[in-house]
Subunit: 254 residues, 2 copies
Amino acid sequence: MRNIALVIGYDGTGYYGFQTQPGGNTVQDHLEAAIRLLTGETVKLHGSGRTDAGVHARAQVAHFHTESTIPVERWSIALNTRLPNDIVVYEAREMPLDFHARRSAKLKTYRYVIQNSKFPDLFYTRTRFHDHRKLDTAAMKEALTYIKGTHDFTSFCTVRCDKDSRVRTIYDADLLVLHDPLPGDELARSIHFEITGNGFLYNMVRIMAGTLIQIGQGKRRPEDMKRILEAKNRRLAGPTAEAHGLTLWRVEYD
Amino acid sequence: MRNIALVIGYDGTGYYGFQTQPGGNTVQDHLEAAIRLLTGETVKLHGSGRTDAGVHARAQVAHFHTESTIPVERWSIALNTRLPNDIVVYEAREMPLDFHARRSAKLKTYRYVIQNSKFPDLFYTRTRFHDHRKLDTAAMKEALTYIKGTHDFTSFCTVRCDKDSRVRTIYDADLLVLHDPLPGDELARSIHFEITGNGFLYNMVRIMAGTLIQIGQGKRRPEDMKRILEAKNRRLAGPTAEAHGLTLWRVEYD
């Protein structure tokens, strides 16, 4: 028995999220099918976490147990030839048997990207949320100072949230603004909201992004982020931002 | 009668090129249909040049004559709501009646992008040609020094080339290498071949890119570029590189 960990990227546009669903067509389904084609084995893949329908991953991690003797350096090429083009296995590693992609994860980083320009940049329509109003990035940056640290994030969890504890630690939350001129729009730019924590509740990054966008639009003030957090009430936060702007950027282990 | 110039971007993946073809589904067809929906007029759009099936544009320019009185600042929004998502009109300007998108053009710039990494970067599969072999970018840069200036580019024109003169002037030809790490591939990078000239023959940039890639792979030497150019023989140059790596970057006028 071997324990293989995969580092996987996917364009989530066409999938119902990472994790197997009754309706099918998830990233996990395609990966398990590719492993079955390659080895003849029916394995159960365990991801570091689910990602919603339409959300992307630059480096999702998942593990599975196998009796296969295929050398570890062959797995990525062998699986990529059996996967759709919008799912890529970048790397495979043999891990100790007790390694678990979700339970062993120490840090996760997500990015939410906003295309802030008159018109969408058409080469990024799949991975960036477009807002044509000039966003106040200084206010957005200020708002992020309130979410760093250890907090109860109930306000930023969908009402269907079923976790016992909604306390998580955010180690880093930052905004990177890239000047990215488009024809006829010298001021076009992209705003990259990057957040690293020890775990995230369901929809947490998207609700934060939705709240941040409202702060950028001047509909809320930066200090509202603190008030929302303290209230532990989902209704006070902004809307859940659209899925396609979100990418699971990396997962870190010891 | 007014003369309107549009600055247009498109993801060429799903189209049979810019210019109207008997088979339909070209970018020009969609633009003319959007103008017809908006104004009721059937106009003939003139692009700065054709782009092949699968080739993209960041800033194609096209003009048309119209009796419409729609203010010039309204055209882009009005057309974008009537266009598919992968075609964007970034800007519209009213021009003198003698302005012609092709005949008035002074400079054109194209970019050919190579994703040089173990596996494709899945967020750029539509716009970058993937090569997993480590390319020798110093040799590629040296090769480009030979194509700057005024030359007869017969060797870099498809054999179906029907132009009287194959002499063109290349003002700039450069290679930009961006370090762009992927999971499991710290050395991943993208190679951007950018070329500016007073005009380009049919398939010229793609044949140059195909030749450059062979030089990067070590199959040819940088000096071969000079020899190929002087021979005025298409058969001596490399293959026509795949269309999807190519983007019409900008068109400049006086």
